[in-house]
Structures are given as structure tokens and as C-alpha cells.
């Protein structure tokens, strides 16, 4: 679309960074600003920038499956979090969290079932944004 050498070069550097950053945003969301929604938008933005600079084919190389799959997976994960609680005999959408001690030193990782839910949110948001933008861009081409 609006491909220039500058854009393409910087994108090559930016994509990995923003992909990692979106995951980072998602993980830290529980304690500090961030979360699944923003993470999903960042992820989508990264993929969309790739699409804008190098076209649809390269985007499909970066994400070799339909955005629909992301939406479906995200919704299933979110719903699965809710249903999972039933498996433990608790009402739908009961959450749980705790700590896993990390090896070496006194660090610990806090886990929460809502992280799975948040991952579902992230994937759905990313799938929706990428899907719509991709469909519209295809319309243009």
C-alpha cells in the first residue's frame, strides 16, 4: 500500500519489538497498567503495520491462519475459564489465584485463572481488529 524503504526497514525492527511488547503488556496487566484488551490492540497494530508495509501475503506469512481462528480461540478460552470453575464444583466464572515459587531466589510468580480469560480477550480483540482491517484492505486491492 504505502510502502517505502524507510517504512519497510523500520517495520522489520518494529514488528518483533511490538509483538513482545504486546505480550509484556498482557502479562503485567494484572498489577500495573495494561491487560488483555490493550495487549490485543498492540498485537493487532503490529500485524496491521506489517500488512500495510509489505502487503497481505507477508501478513499471512506472519500469521498463517485466519483471524477468525483467533476470535474463536479467544472466545473459547474466555468461556472455558468460566466453565472450568464448574469442574471444581464452584459457580460459573469463579476465579482463583495463587503463587508459584520461582527457582533460584525468593521470587514468585503469581498466577490467576483470570489470566486465561484475559488471554481470551486479547486474542479476540486482536482477531477482530486484524480481521476487519484485512477484509477492508482486500476490498481496496
Amino acid at each position: 500500500m504505502m510502502s517505502t524503504v524507510i517504512l519497510r526497514t523500520s517495520v522489520r525492527l518494529l514488528i518483533p519489538l511490538s509483538l513482545v511488547f504486546s505480550v509484556f503488556i498482557y502479562f503485567k496487566g494484572h498489577q500495573t497498567p495494561g491487560g488483555g484488551f490493550v495487549g490485543g490492540l498492540m498485537l493487532a497494530a503490529a500485524i496491521v503495520i506489517q500488512r500495510m508495509s509489505d502487503g497481505g501475503a507477508s501478513m499471512r506469512k506472519l500469521m498463517p491462519f485466519s483471524p477468525r481462528l483467533l476470535i474463536a480461540a479467544g472466545l473459547l478460552l474466555a468461556l472455558g475459564t468460566g466453565i472450568g470453575a464448574i469442574g471444581f464444583g464452584l459457580p460459573f466464572f469463579t476465579s482463583n489465584h495463587g503463587y508459584i515459587p520461582l527457582p533460584g531466589g525468593g521470587g514468585k510468580f503469581e498466577w490467576a485463572t483470570v489470566m486465561i480469560f484475559d488471554l481470551g480477550v486479547m486474542l479476540t480483540v486482536a482477531g477482530v481488529v486484524v480481521g476487519i482491517i484485512d477484509a477492508l484492505s482486500q476490498e481496496l486491492e
Binding site: 503488556i25 496487566g29 494484572h30 498489577q31 500495573t32 497498567p33 495494561g34 491487560g35 488483555g36 484488551f37 490493550v38 490492540l41 498492540m42 493487532a44 497494530a45 496491521v48 500495510m52 483471524p67 477468525r68 476470535i71 474463536a72 479467544g74 472466545l75 474466555a78 468461556l79 475459564t81 468460566g82 464448574i86 464444583g89 464452584l90 459457580p91 460459573f92 466464572f93 469463579t94 476465579s95 482463583n96 489465584h97 495463587g98 503463587y99 503469581e110 490467576a112 483470570v114 480469560f117 484475559d118 481470551g120 480477550v121 479476540t124 480483540v125 482477531g127 477482530v128 481488529v129 480481521g131 476487519i132 482491517i133 477484509a135 477492508l136 484492505s137 482486500q138 476490498e139 481496496l140
Partner: protein, 869 residues
């Protein structure tokens, strides 16, 4: 095993087996049939184990699902529910076999048919076993949906689809009434299950809400059970393949309404308010009963005849429950009265089954069936079976049907005595008339099938797919299921002892009426009938029926005038809807924006007029020292400038950029006022929406010359008004008094605002709300955000010590996150987020579908815009 396991297995087994059949390779017909058969068999086994383990005195199974929404998996195996479930599963088994014979070895039809049928079976079994109102409603709607799929089976046939829509819309509207009624009942009484309501029914104070609830519930039941004047959907539903008619319209779906009335009559009749019970049920039921039988006699299509007799019988059942209000020696004259329901299923299912079978090999039009008996061996057998069933329809002696009809007439006689009202003589006349029509139908059927053949018709018209006649065992299953079912009619009629043995446990008639008081429990069988009003009524009906059946009267085809009701309403709805559509959907974006803005301003003015004080100007000092606000002012100025630039910029792309500038300035404001979460989200949204806008704009048609100045003053005024409203709303929502929340802090003091509650409990819960009973058992936890949210933890973290201070709980845990916004989104309000991302996903689907349609439209050069009015 907890009873809930039996219930879940019993209710869900058919649907699961239906899903499994989808995995069976396409051409393996026999395994498909066997897997489908497994569904009802598992159901019967599970329910049998439940009964042998717990008896039938009302075993409840309970499992919390969404307790805060009053929706729990609460089942109750009481006599009425169990009886229905066994009937549904038992007849279902035979229908599975019949469907195989009916569709023949047509693999693709069976592949589609069985899962749908089994889904319906699950819905029906769940419906009759549910104790919770809302759970029952869920299954109720499931029967509507699955029956829609089944009735509209011939999906290429526009008539069948139209009839399926008709059935769906009418039963669906009834379902909405039922939902309103049940919610009203739950809210008024405070209990959400039938058995609890039954326990407290005497104590319920008379209130108009209960009367309204009764009327609404009855409306739902009447629509489902095809009561006049909504009965016309049932004959229309005969567009379905015959296995569906035999199943849905004899023993199952149409009985859902009857079931509901049977389920609720002991409750409503005991309530001091519901004096209308007999006044509502009896007239409607009686009209349905006579009218259905009257039309049935004047139909020529076998399925239509039986459809209208079904309508008639459903009317009878409703009347009967209406009569339940009249007691005899302070006993209700009936309890669940499964005899009538069973009796109907035992002759109506065989009638439909045989109607399909005869239509399969000859014709369903009785004028073409003269001398059918003599046309061959199969024809002779089918004639015998259908006449056996039709004899039961006529309630001839030595059948269960005879006893059931006697019982019904007895109830009328009792009502005459108990009420002393002469109105019931009219009901008695209606009963005799119905009996007369039914006998006449039997006589006509018998004389036609056994009569001398004038000419034979070879064509068959029941089945739309013509295929070769099969050889082997399967064709016999066209009539074997009918024979099996109708055999029960005669076994029960001839050996009353056997019937009582089987059904007395679910039919508590003991001592309720005076047939054979000295024998106690036994139903009035043919040889027990003694002289009295009921027997005279039966005999009168039979004599008149034979005379009418042989006479040349009423032999033509009569159109049911109610058939035009639905098309009329449909036309009105579409015409009216079209008018409103053309009024509002002009296709101009500016109109939409103007409409929305005017609505916002209008609603705001209305709110001000009603509750002006809620929008009062805040009295507290808002402005902080200037030096702290300098950056804020600068950012705000940028927002304002970009907003003012908007109408001046002409090019679309530039407008998008200006809008972006506005958004980024807002991001700055958020950041400056310490809302990093909002800032982060806003900046991501800005990036993505910028791209989206640019894409969409380049897809839009080339912009025509904008119309400067036209209505500019009006637009400016509207813009200023909307801006003012939004400003005021934001101001009052951030400074005004918020409603007090019903949450308690750990020390017992009230928490003023929901926001405070979230702040306090985001990381670890310190405040308590509703505690789920399971949590105490689990010896851990507790905190609840909103009512439906609880969090519970393993209790191995550093807040343990703090929790020890609290007397009544071992450990509080909150959402476990310091980011309050995120914890609210994914934990406290997780349900909402779930809904939101679902909507997002749906929106994406919508975009894809629209774009694809657009592209296909271009390729086929179909003018999409011009085709619309």
C-alpha cells in the same frame, strides 16, 4: 451417586448421542440408527436407576449454576415429571426406528434428522424434569427451536418453511409470556422452583402480581398446547415429515403446555388470588375441544384429521385441569391425571405413524383410500393397526381411552354437583359432541378403508423424496412401532390390574373419586362402569357418532378460518415495519447522526424535568490552583482547537487526522491526570481507528461537493446542545451523589460507593458479601465482588495472618491484582467482558459477511442499492 448425575445423564444423553451420530460415516445407516437408539435407552436406564434408588416421591437434584441469576441446575423427579420423561424417551425410541423405515436408506436425510430429533428429545426431557423456573424456560425455548428445525424439515419447500415460522413465532410469543409470568412469580413469591413454591403456596398473600403471573404462564401454555384461537399452528405444522408429527404432536411438544398447567394447578388453585382458574381454562379448553373435533371430521388428509383431533384432545386436557378446582369430599377430583395424557399419546402416536405409513405406500387422502384393506398383505395389516388406534380415538369400550373418557365425564358430573351451576350442562353437551365427532371419524375411517374399492390409486404423496421401496425388515417398522404403542391401549383396557400396577405410583387417584369406592384405587374400566351420568354421556356420544359417521352430513372439506390469522398479522407486521424502516433508515449518515443527537438532547431534557436536582451544578470547589493545571489547560486547548478545526477542514483524510489529533490530546489529558490505563487504551485505540478510518474512507464513493451553509445554523445549534449535554453529564457523574451500594465492609460499616468497594477488594478481599455455601466447606477464602463474582484461593500467601483476625471467615481473597481497572474488567465484571468480546466477534463476522455480499453482488452485477425501495 448424587441424584443430579442421573438427571444430567438422563436429560443430556439423547443430545450427546445425536452429536455422536454426526461422527458416524455417512453411509453407515445401521450404526447411525443404533447410536441414536442409545440416547433414549440411556435416558430410560438413568431414570430407572434413579427411581429404583430413590423412589418417585420427588427426588431433587441440585447443582448451583448461576445462583445470583436464580438459574441453578435444579431437577425434580416427581411423579408427573418422571411420567413425562419416560413417555418421551419411550415413544422416542420407537420414533427413531420408525424414522429409519420412513426415510428409507436415504443416508443424508437420516444424518440430518437424528441429531435434530435427539436434541428435541433432550429439550423435552429436561423441560419435564426441571424444577427451577428458569431452567425449565431454557428447555422450553429449546423445544421451540428444535421443533422449528423439525417442522421446517423440507427446507426447500417454501410452504413448509412458512408453516415452521408460524409454529415458531406463535410458540415463541407464548414462551415470552411464560418468561414474564415465571419471573413475576419468582419475584413475587421469592422462590424460584416449583417444589418450593408448592410448599409455600398456602401462605402467599393475594396480590395482583400473582394473578398476572398466572395469566401469563397460562398464555404460554395455551400457545404451546395449541388452544383456540391459537390452535392453527398445529395443523400447519403437519408440513413436517410424519415421524416428527408422530412424536411432537402426539406425546411431546404439544403436551408441554398441558404439562405446565398440570405442574402449576396445585399451586395456583391453592392461591387465594387465583379465582379465575376454572373461568379461564374451562371455556377456552371446551371451545378448543369441540372446534377441533368439528374441523377434524371435515378434513380428508389423514394427518390433518389427526392434527385437529389432537387440538381437540388438548382442549379436553385443559378443561380437565380447569375442573380440578372443583373438589369432591374436600379431595381434588384429580391429581396429576396422567391417565388422560398417556391415553392420548397411546392412540395418537400410532395414528400419525400409520398415517405416514399409508401415505408412504398409497395416499394420505382418505377419498383415495377406499378399499385399501384389500390391496395386499401390508395394506391389510396397516388397516388393522390404524383402525385399532382409531377405535381408541373413538373411546370405544375395552380400551384405556374409554376409561379416560368416563373419568372426564365423571369430572363434569362432579362439577355440576359441586358448583350447582347450570353452566356445566353446556360443558357436558360439549363433551358429548366431542365424543360424537370422534366416533364419527372412526366410523368414516373404517367404512372407507374396509369399503368396496372403486378404483385404486398407486401414487404416494406423503414423501417428497421418491425412492425405491426397500426390501427386508425395515419396511415393517412403518407399522410395528404403531402396533407396539397401541397395544398398551388394549392391555390397559382389558387388564386394569396391569395398568394400575404400572401407573398407580405416578397417578395418585386413590380415594379421589367414587368409581368403585370399594375397590379403592382401580380406575373405572369398561366393566366397572355403572349406570350414571358419565355412562349415559358416553353412550349418547357413541350412538350419535355412529349415526353421524354413516350419514352424508359434513363430508366436504371445511377451511379453518383461523388459518388466515397468522398471514394477516404477518402482513401487518411487515407493512408497518417497512413503513417505519423507510421513515428512519434514509441511508444518509447525517440523518442518523441528527436523529441520535436529537434523541440524546431530548432524553436529557426529559430527565432534567423529572429529576432536576440530580443534575444540579456541583457546589464543591472544582478548580485547583492554576499552576498545577497549566499542562491540563494546554492539553484541553489542543482538544478544543482540533474540535473547532473539524467542521472547517474539507477533505475527509484531513478530517481523520484532525480527529486523531483530538484523540491524542485526550490521551495526554488522561496521562496527566493519572489514568495510565485509560491513556494506554486510548492511544492503542487511536492508532487502530486511524487505520480503520482511512481504509473505510478510501472505500467510500468519491465525495460530492459538500453542501456548505445548508442548515448550518441548525447543525451548529444541535452540535452545541449535544456538547453541552455531554459536558453536564460528565460533570454531574463525577461530582454528584452516587447511589449507596448494599455492600458491607469487613468491620460491618456500609460501603458508600461501588468504586470504593472495588478499590478495597481488588488485591485481596477485606469486605464480605454473599458467601457461597461451598466455600465454607472448602475451608478457604472469601470475597465477592459483585453478587455473581467470588474469588477463592488456596490460602498459601502472605495475607494469611491478616485474615486470621476475622472471626467468621478463614481467609479473604480479592481479585489478586493491583490494577483495579483490569481486575474489574476480567474478574469482578467478567460476565460483562465475556458479553462484550462476544459482541466484538459478532461484529467482525458482520463485516465479513457484508463485504463478501458486496463483492458477490459486484460479480453478479446485481444492483444492490437500486433493488431496495
Amino acid at each position: 451417586m448424587n441424584p443430579i448425575g442421573y438427571f444430567l445423564v438422563g436429560a443430556l444423553a439423547p443430545a450427546l448421542c445425536g452429536l455422536v451420530t454426526l461422527l458416524v460415516p455417512r453411509l453407515w445407516v445401521l450404526p447411525r440408527v443404533l447410536v441414536s437408539l442409545l440416547g433414549p435407552i440411556v435416558t430410560l436406564t438413568a431414570l430407572g436407576m434413579l427411581m429404583s434408588g430413590h423412589g418417585v416421591a420427588g427426588t431433587r437434584g441440585h447443582w448451583p449454576w448461576m445462583s445470583a441469576l436464580k438459574l441453578d441446575l435444579t431437577f425434580n423427579a416427581d411423579p408427573l415429571g418422571l411420567f413425562f420423561a419416560l413417555l418421551v424417551a419411550g415413544v422416542g425410541m420407537l420414533i427413531v426406528l420408525y424414522a429409519r423405515a420412513y426415510f428409507g436408506p436415504d443416508a443424508s436425510s437420516l444424518r440430518r434428522f437424528y441429531p435434530t430429533l435427539l436434541l428435541f428429545m433432550t429439550a423435552m426431557i429436561g423441560l419435564v424434569l426441571s424444577d427451577n423456573f428458569l431452567l425449565m424456560l431454557l428447555f422450553w425455548e429449546m423445544t421451540s427451536i428444535s421443533s422449528f428445525l423439525l417442522i421446517g424439515w423440507e427446507r426447500d419447500d417454501p410452504v413448509a418453511v412458512k408453516k415452521a415460522m408460524q409454529a415458531f413465532i406463535i410458540t415463541g410469543a407464548g414462551g415470552l409470556c411464560l418468561m414474564a409470568g415465571l419471573i413475576l412469580l419468582g419475584v413475587t413469591s421469592g422462590v424460584w422452583s416449583f417444589s418450593e413454591l408448592m410448599a409455600i403456596r398456602q401462605s402467599l398473600e393475594g396480590s395482583p402480581q400473582l394473578t398476572a403471573a398466572f395469566l401469563l404462564v397460562f398464555a404460554g401454555a395455551a400457545a404451546k398446547s395449541a388452544q383456540w384461537p391459537l390452535h392453527f399452528w398445529l395443523p400447519g405444522a403437519m408440513a413436517a415429515p410424519t415421524p416428527v408429527s408422530a412424536y411432537l404432536h402426539s406425546a411431546t411438544m404439544v403436551k408441554a403446555g398441558v404439562y405446565l398447567v398440570g405442574r402449576t394447578w396445585p399451586i395456583f388453585c391453592a392461591m387465594p388470588t387465583v379465582i379465575y382458574w376454572p373461568a379461564v381454562l374451562i371455556p377456552l379448553g371446551a371451545i378448543t375441544m369441540v372446534y377441533g373435533a368439528f374441523i377434524a371430521l371435515q378434513r380428508h388428509d389423514l394427518k390433518q384429521i389427526f392434527a385437529y383431533t389432537t387440538v381437540s384432545q388438548l382442549g379436553l386436557l385443559m378443561t380437565m385441569y380447569g375442573l380440578a378446582a372443583y373438589t369432591w369430599h374436600d379431595h381434588p377430583v384429580l391429581y396429576w391425571d396422567v391417565t388422560q395424557i398417556l391415553n392420548h399419546a397411546l392412540y395418537k402416536a400410532p395414528l400419525f405413524i400409520l398415517a405416514g405409513a399409508i401415505g408412504h405406500i398409497a395416499s394420505r387422502d382418505i377419498t383415495h383410500l377406499r378399499g385399501f384393506f384389500y390391496q395386499g398383505r401390508t395394506q391389510a395389516i396397516m388397516t388393522i393397526v390404524i383402525l385399532l388406534a382409531a377405535y381408541a380415538l373413538a373411546a370405544g369400550p375395552l380400551t384405556l381411552s374409554f376409561s379416560a373418557k368416563e373419568f372426564f365425564f365423571y369430572q363434569i358430573a362432579n362439577a355440576i354437583k359441586a358448583s350447582g351451576s347450570n353452566m356445566f350442562w353446556m360443558l357436558a353437551a360439549a363433551g358429548v359432541l366431542t365424543g360424537m365427532f370422534n366416533v364419527a371419524i372412526f366410523i368414516r375411517l373404517a367404512t372407507t378403508l374396509l369399503g368396496k374399492a372403486d378404483h385404486a390409486h398407486g401414487h404416494h404423496d406423503d414423501h417428497h423424496h421418491h425412492h425405491e421401496h426397500e426390501h427386508g425388515l425395515w419396511p415393517a417398522f412403518l407399522w410395528i412401532p404403531g402396533l407396539i404403542i397401541v397395544a398398551f391401549q388394549y392391555i390397559s383396557g382389558l387388564v386394569p390390574f396391569a395398568y394400575d400396577k404400572l401407573f398407580l405410583s405416578v397417578e395418585r387417584t386413590a380415594g379421589n373419586y367414587d368409581f368403585k369406592t370399594h375397590l379403592g384405587n382401580i380406575l373405572p374400566m369398561t366393566w366397572d362402569a355403572h349406570l350414571g351420568l358419565p355412562l349415559y354421556m358416553s353412550l349418547t356420544g357413541m350412538v350419535l357418532g355412529v349415526a353421524l359417521g354413516l350419514s352424508p352430513l359434513l363430508r366436504g372439506v371445511r377451511k379453518d378460518p383461523h388459518d388466515s390469522l397468522y398471514p394477516g398479522f404477518y402482513l401487518m407486521a411487515t407493512k408497518g415495519g417497512g413503513y417505519v424502516f423507510r421513515l428512519l433508515q434514509t441511508g444518509h449518515l447525517t440523518t442518523y447522526i441528527a436523529l441520535t443527537s436529537v434523541t440524546i438532547v431530548g432524553l436529557f431534557c426529559w430527565a432534567i424535568a423529572r429529576h432536576g436536582d440530580a443534575f444540579a451544578w456541583p457546589t464543591e470547589k472544582l478548580i485547583e490552583p492554576f499552576d498545577q493545571l497549566l499542562v491540563g489547560y494546554m492539553l484541553t486547548a489542543m482538544v478544543c482547537i482540533s474540535a473547532l478545526l473539524m467542521p472547517m477542514v474539507r477533505m475527509r483524510a484531513s478530517r481523520v487526522l484532525v480527529l486523531g489529533a483530538c484523540g491524542f490530546s485526550v490521551t495526554g489529558v488522561y496521562y496527566f491526570y493519572q489514568a495510565p490505563d485509560l491513556a494506554l487504551t486510548q492511544i492503542s485505540i487511536e492508532i487502530v481507528s486511524l487505520v480503520l478510518f482511512l481504509l473505510v474512507l478510501s472505500l467510500l464513493p468519491v465525495e460530492k461537493k459538500p453542501l456548505p451553509g445548508r442548515n448550518a445554523v441548525g447543525r451548529a445549534v444541535l452540535a452545541v446542545l449535544v456538547g453541552g449535554v455531554m459536558f453536564w453529564l460528565t460533570l454531574s457523574s463525577s461530582t454528584g451523589d452516587r447511589p449507596v451500594m448494599p455492600y458491607k465492609a469487613a468491620d460491618g460499616s456500609a460501603i458508600q460507593h461501588l468504586g470504593h468497594y472495588f478499590l478495597r477488594n481488588s488485591y485481596h478481599g477485606v469486605d464480605s458479601l454473599n458467601v457461597h455455601p461451598r466455600e465454607a466447606q472448602l475451608d478457604s477464602l472469601v470475597d465477592r465482588g459483585a453478587e455473581h463474582r467470588i474469588s477463592y484461593g488456596s490460602g498459601s500467601d502472605d495475607h494469611h495472618a491478616e485474615a486470621q483476625h476475622d472471626g467468621h471467615m478463614t481467609l479473604h481473597k480479592g481479585g489478586g491484582g493491583n490494577n483495579v481497572v483490569n481486575v474489574i474488567l476480567v474478574d469482578f465484571r467478567g460476565f460483562d467482558t465475556m458479553g462484550e468480546i462476544t459482541v466484538l466477534g459478532l461484529a467482525a463476522m458482520g463485516v465479513w459477511t457484508l463485504l463478501r455480499r458486496r463483492r458477490e453482488g459486484e460479480e453478479e452485477t446485481i444492483p444492490t442499492q437500486e433493488a431496495r425501495p
